[in-house]
Amino acid sequence: MSNMTTSLYNIRLLDELAEKKTIIHNIHPLIKVLTTVLYLIIIVSFNKYELSELLPLIFYPIIVIALADLPLMILLKRMLIAFPLLIGIGLFNPLFDRSTMVELPWMQLSGGWVSFLSILLKGVLTILAALVLIATTGITRIAAVLGMLRVPRIFILQLLLTYRYISVLVEEVGRTVRAYALRSRREKGISFSDWGPLIGHLLLRTIERAQRVYHSMCCRGFTGAYHTGSVSRVRTGDVFYFAGWGIYFMVVRFINIPATLGSLITGVVR
């Protein structure tokens, strides 16, 4: 029940954020998608023991979040939801990989812990990147990008329809479950004997709705093809945005900035 409200809230929030007008929001959606994909590929291309090398990549979400006026705390909270899985799988690393890897004057860290932390950091960065993309672009423009990338129109239309009807159907399902809960003695969940009728009725209503949607599409000349509008052209500024981040990512990928920085400082201290 509560997760229905949260997920609706979440969708609405991200839609609202995507309507802002900041420098980042004005960047061409295709460029934002490409930058995100490049960023993700760079992140996952790091080896499991590379931890400090990954750190400079955090500049990307921080700068974009700040420039796009996104609420950091809310994004971080969203991010935490994905963490149990990463921790669940990642925690096995310290168990199975005990070879010492990092030696500090006051402690030793095994390879397992390093790779565990690396998984978590990758989790933070990849999740933030996806959230930042949708929060600054919105589903409609993402769909336009998919069109530019020659994704079949049928799939795009379908994706948009699913997105559109999530809010309608989550509400409908929510109403039904609430009505059920008010008349049942159980504390949580739907009892076995009611699974079929409850979900089945919802499903039949859904099918009827789909029928009506289809009719209303037909009445406006739908014949199976979906025509998107044109998208604005990529400007020079957009290209620079992509090139700038691209160069930065590459530099981070091939030069260990923190290590260089650190040895510089420790060298000076000594």
Binding site: S45, L55, I58, F59, A66, L104, A130, I190, F192, Y214
Partner: protein, 349 residues
């Protein structure tokens, strides 16, 4: 379970994206040939329905716990495999974008694990086979139950393989399988029960909905040969990719081979391994499989507890100091932009 970006390597992510895109393109083509444009809105709305239904908690009898459904099988039964697969792909895309479920690079894996198996394996080879000679509550129940179980077993095995070949997790293959398969057996029972209950209900109330999918469209004629051929191609592709890894990344496979046969030589690094390793060194963009790393994993697999060759107190400290510095710098940059923007706003007003 959704695969996460943080757990995959670029090659696994890329390969699964390619396979998934192929299946999706084929499905789009199939639907296009169908000329049943009525199905398009149904796909969208049914996808949204499954999305919403995933949030319903089903009390599992006699356990006190509750579960929810994935819905891939339900979509396949309702829409047929091709449309069902695309609807599932849409759901997972929206979840990846809006809910940080999985991730964009892992999306290929997730669509494959949660869409391909229910729609193209469990549905045609299990559910359709059982209900082919006509429907009855019992057949629907058996078909949905078995299909859900088998689909989820494939899916979870797939998760294990993808994680394993990505090499980010140290979980040994066998342990991971022993963890995942039983859990997904339980999840499969719930999925099967819910799917059977819903399909059974709809079949009773509006039999034509369940029958239409199966008779009208290509499904009736979905030849098992074709499915098997597609499976074989997919298996060959993934097999090819995985064997490429396996040779480049012998630790886990060796481990499981070792367990299976008690002999270690099975995975003996031969000539191919060396050529591939050399090739990889040149393509060292994917450092997980760089030679240096392999030596390390090799020694680990053999079981010696030798420490990593590069361990050095000096570099470790430098790494830590540099890392902290980087983080601080990043935070300061973020704060500066915020402050600058705020001042800009107030001065503007």
């Amino acid at each position: 379970m959704h695969m996460a970006d943080a757990l995959i390597s670029p090659v696994v992510g890329g390969a699964m994206w390619a396979v998934t895109a192929g299946v999706a393109a084929y499905s789009v083509k199939k639907i296009g040939n169908d000329l049943d444009e009525q199905k398009i809105p149904l796909m969208g709305v049914a996808g949204a329905f499954v999305f919403a239904a995933q949030m319903i908690n089903f009390a599992i009898p006699a356990t006190g716990s509750s579960g929810h459904i994935g819905g891939g099988l339900l979509l396949a039964i309702l829409l047929g495999p091709y449309a069902g697969f695309l609807a599932m792909a849409s759901i997972l895309t929206i979840q990846a974008l809006f809910f940080a479920d999985g991730g964009l690079l892992a999306l290929g894996c997730n669509i494959f694990n949660l869409g391909f198996y229910p729609c193209f394996v469990a549905y045609p080879l299990v559910y359709r086979l059982i209900t082919r000679r006509g429907y009855s509550q019992r057949r629907i129940f058996t078909g949905a139950m078995l299909a859900a179980l088998i689909g989820l077993q494939f899916g979870s095995l797939s998760v294990v393989l993808e994680t394993f070949f990505s090499g980010k997790s140290e979980l040994p293959f066998g342990t991971f399988v022993m963890l995942m398969q039983p859990i997904h057996l339980a999840i499969g029972v719930v999925e099967g029960l819910v799917t059977a209950a819903v399909v059974g209900f709809v079949w009773q109330a509006r039999p034509e909905i369940i029958k239409r999918t199966t008779s009208g469209e290509t499904l009736g004629s979905i030849s098992i040969k074709k499915v098997l051929a597609a499976l074989a191609i997919a298996a060959m592709m993934t097999g090819g990719i995985f064997s490429w890894f396996a040779s480049a990344h012998p630790d886990g496979l060796e481990w499981s081979m070792y367990n299976a046969s008690g002999k270690e030589e099975l995975a003996a690094p031969g000539g191919i391994y060396h050529t591939l390793a050399a090739l990889q060194e040149r393509l060292a963009f994917f450092p997980d499989y760089s030679l240096k790393n392999q030596q390390e994993t090799n020694t680990f697999a053999v079981g010696t507890n030798e420490s990593w060759p590069t361990v050095n107190a000096g570099t470790s400290l430098a790494g830590l100091v540099g890392g902290v510095m980087t983080l601080m710098l990043a935070v300061i940059t973020g704060c500066c932009i915020y402050m600058f923007k705020r001042r800009h706003k107030t001065s503007g007003v």
